[in-house]
């Protein structure tokens, strides 16, 4: 069985900086993979190269064995890969509900059927479920730009789930989310994972990553310096030195 | 008719804003001055003349609405518009309403469409270009010429007529140089003229551009004779260009600078009242009003149809109506005929070197 996502010798150079340095790894169907590493170690850049936001300088990415390097993000997304960004990325002038509908509408029908079909593309019910789960009901019709930081963060994550993706790449989903909600979020990830979706999660909240992931990659200066189970990684001297501290 | 009220209503439609603002303001002020003079002497057939103004913004869409508005107000006659394109878009409306328009456009085709209510106040280009063509052939004795023209309806019309006349006279147009209205940098155009060998350059562009062109010619040291038609020799251009204008020559159709005492008197009055010197458009507006006055008094009533009919084929002489300034005739198409002049710029002044008789004589 080939891995769902294969990253081979991926590099990204910004002028003199080699932000990602020949990184290779696999993501197997159904797993939750954690990626940790010091600030500036190239984690976000790695995501951007995998998903086509940036063109990698070298290397290739395969999805289900098929090369997807150079593919546009929207096409990748329609293959069932979705993501969140580290910095908030919602549509401030749209309401929460509209944000959610938008997040899945392009997966429904064709351009033409979207023009002539229902205004909500039949996604209202799904959006409402998402709103209820993330406790955004009281702000469901507020413009997303008026939400608090944590609320926007949740909305951002909710949008990534709207289209029922097979593979989700989350860049720091826990930052700014209050601990109670965080437990819910973790649980949701696990539940969706049980239904078959695969996750790659970048996170600095160790408690969250350790509880969620069964395998963790550690990136430093653009290279993978360690990989393994949470326990292995936690005990790795290099990881303690570069990342965990103490 | 409509003039049953206390006043005789005239309408002025012109390019009071946009590209045509300078010419139209001149035209309007000339008309205003004439109206005030007439009113001061008791009005027209005992009625005060009232002038309503409509601004076309030099935009055909607006022009049509303004013409419609003017017609809805039922004036006795319409003065303006000044730009040929604007005349073209609006003149049919007036014709349908049977209201005479005394306008300032100079494009040759305006009077070719059989509009029985349309009258010029100056030469159409079909009349002025043969004169300048003769001058180029007979006086300058040029075999090849360059023409520098401004690419708007004024310049293009002039250029097309000029080319036709040159062809008819077997003179070769070796360079055909289009410039933009509002252009400031004429270096490329002068370089082009310099690059070919011609006996004369015919310059047909607006006033400020003329001045800038002359300065550039002086700067690059070009020494070919520069021939102009009215605009290039106007006092305005001379003032703006300074001594770069010296030596320019050509034909002057209607101009506030012609050595006719009545015109000079008009110029002085105009300057006193408005604080600036009129160009030929001021005279066009002024004489346009007096033409209406003369004919109306002649027919003794406010009758638009009769006004139009009478003006066709009429000659008005300053002896009968001093306000006409120079003897003027209208033919059956509404085209105009007057004497005109040959002039040259010497020491920062326009000097008349000859007089051309009316065409009809």
């Amino acid at each position: 069985m080939t891995a769902m996502l294969q990253v081979r010798d991926l590099s990204k150079r910004f002028g003199g900086i080699l932000a990602v340095d020949r990184v290779s790894f696999d993501v197997n169907e159904g797993e939750i993979l954690g990626i940790i590493g010091p600030n500036g170690s190239g984690k976000s850049t790695l995501f951007n190269c995998i998903l086509g936001q940036l063109a990698p300088s070298e290397g290739e990415v395969r999805l289900d064995g098929r090369i997807v390097t150079g593919m546009r993000p929207c096409d990748l997304n329609r293959l069932g890969v979705s993501r969140t960004f580290q910095l908030l990325q919602v549509f401030p002038e749209l309401t929460v509900r509209e944000n959610l509908v938008l997040a899945a509408q392009e997966h429904k029908g064709t351009m033409l059927s979207r023009l002539f079909g229902a205004s909500d593309a039949g996604l209202s019910a799904a959006a409402d479920r998402m709103i209820a789960f993330f406790r955004l009901a009281h702000v469901a019709d507020s413009r997303a730009g008026t939400l608090s930081y944590g609320q926007q963060k949740l909305l951002d994550a909710a949008m990534a789930f709207m289209a029922g993706p097979r593979l989700v790449l989350l860049d720091e989903p826990a930052g700014g989310v209050n601990p109670t909600m965080l437990a819910d979020l973790r649980e949701r990830l696990t539940a969706v994972n049980r239904e078959g979706a695969t996750f790659v999660v970048i996170e600095h909240n160790m408690e969250f990553v350790m509880a969620l992931c069964r395998r963790i990659l550690v990136l430093a200066e653009g290279r993978i310096i360690a990989a393994g189970s949470p326990e292995e990684v936690r005990r790795d001297a290099k990881v303690i030195e570069a990342y965990l501290g103490r | 008719q409509a003039q049953s009220g206390q006043a005789a209503k005239l309408a002025f439609i012109g390019e009071l804003s946009g590209a045509g603002a300078v010419s139209s303001t001149n035209f309007r002020d000339g008309a205003l001055m004439a109206i005030d003079e007439i009113n001061a002497k008791g009005g027209l057939l005992g009625k005060k003349i009232e002038l309503k103004q409509y601004d076309t913004q030099t935009n055909p869409g607006t022009a049509r609405s303004q013409m419609q508005k003017a017609i809805d107000d039922e004036p006795y006659a319409i003065l303006g518009p000044i730009f040929s394109g604007i005349v073209k878009v609006s003149m049919m409306l007036a014709a349908q309403a049977e209201i005479p328009i005394i306008m300032g456009g100079e494009a040759s085709d305006l009077t070719q469409q059989g509009n029985a209510y349309l009258f010029r106040t100056s030469f159409g280009q079909q009349a002025s270009m043969p004169k300048i063509a003769n001058y180029v052939r007979d006086v300058v004795k040029a075999k090849t010429v360059a023409v520098v023209w401004v690419n708007n309806d004024f310049g293009k019309g002039g250029r097309d007529n000029f080319m036709k006349e040159m062809n008819a006279r077997g003179i070769k147009v070796a360079a055909d140089i289009s410039t933009e209205s509002g252009q400031t940098d004429f270096a490329a155009d002068v370089v082009k003229v310099k690059g070919i060998n011609v006996d004369a350059v015919f310059v047909y562009i607006n006033e400020e551009e003329s001045a800038r062109f002359l300065r550039e010619v002086r700067k690059q040291g070009l020494s070919v004779p520069l021939i102009g038609e009215t605009t290039l020799l106007s006092q305005k251009v001379i003032d703006l260009a300074g001594d770069a204008a010296n030596g320019v020559r050509g034909h002057v159709g209607l101009s506030a600078d012609v050595p006719v005492p009545a015109v000079q008197e008009f110029k002085a009055k105009f300057h006193k009242r408005f604080g600036y010197l009129p160009d030929h458009n001021g005279i066009k507006g002024y004489t346009g009003v007096y033409a209406i006055k003369f004919v109306t008094e002649k027919i003794g009533k406010f009758d638009r149809k009769a006004l139009a009919a009478t003006l066709h084929g009429l000659t008005i002489s300053p002896k009968d109506e001093p306000g006409i300034l120079i003897e003027t005739s209208w033919d059956d198409k509404g085209d105009i005929d007057r004497i005109s002049f040959i002039a040259e710029v010497v020491n920062g002044k326009q000097q008349i070197t000859g007089e051309l008789p009316k065409l009809g004589k």
Binding site: - | V22, D185, A187, A188, V191, K194, E208, K219, K236, G242
Partner: protein, 292 residues
Amino acid sequence: MADFLQLLVAGLATGGIYALVAIGFTLLWQTSQTINFAQGEFVMVPAFFMLAAMRVLDVPFWGAVVFGIALSTIVLGMAFKKLLVDPMLRHGVLPLAIATMALALFLKESVKDFYGAEAQPFPPLAAAVNVTLFGAAIAVQSLVVVALAVAAIVALQLFLNRTRTGRCMQATAQNPAVARILGIPVERMIMLAFVINAALAALASALVTPIYLAKFSNGEYLGMAAFIAAIVGGFNQVRGAIVGGLLLGVIDNFSAAYLSAQYRAAIPLALLIVVILFRPQGLLGRREERTV
């Protein structure tokens, strides 16, 4: 060859004018992220302040120039900032752009209605003589314009990047809310930007008007050309104005001479589009920030 040089020199002279006016765009963008579509009129109007001073107040030309610059700083700098810019500053680029389009109409029509529609001669600041450079004639005035444009750009560039005040002005433009939180006197920084802009525009007016003649409609084309120059040069850096301006002037002259005079107004633009497509931030502009 002589022709070529003549065209080049003339193009640089015209380009110098565009550059001088284009500074208004790049400066305002770098220091307040606003676009002033009345920038051309800001160069047209001060000449009339100066003419009016000579006519009404009967002051000598130099006095009139000083008066014109002072009055512009107040009217086109301070009053403009207080009355138009302040209410719209937080609402993005478009509302202010539209308001300044209306302002341009206002200034144009006011000059026309209250001063006159006719072009007026304007006394030259520098001697109105020509010099010959390698066989190409150029007006001394044009040399002064180019020199001043370069000097102004160098000075502003140094001021913005090398002084703390300059960097505070840039910070204010890039993130006013945070600038305020850090205690940067945001109001004063923005005011400074607009005052510098108005003073520079007035100076440009005194230099450009002898060549253009004083006329209410001068700003239309000048403003447009300067806008284009600023974009091609790089909108977010003051220095962009200089390359953009000179390039536009030179291409304009060469295309009019060698390609087509009838399409003169469009050919430079078409060529410059190519520049923009290859360098989306303009020639000397700074790259847009990281987006992901």
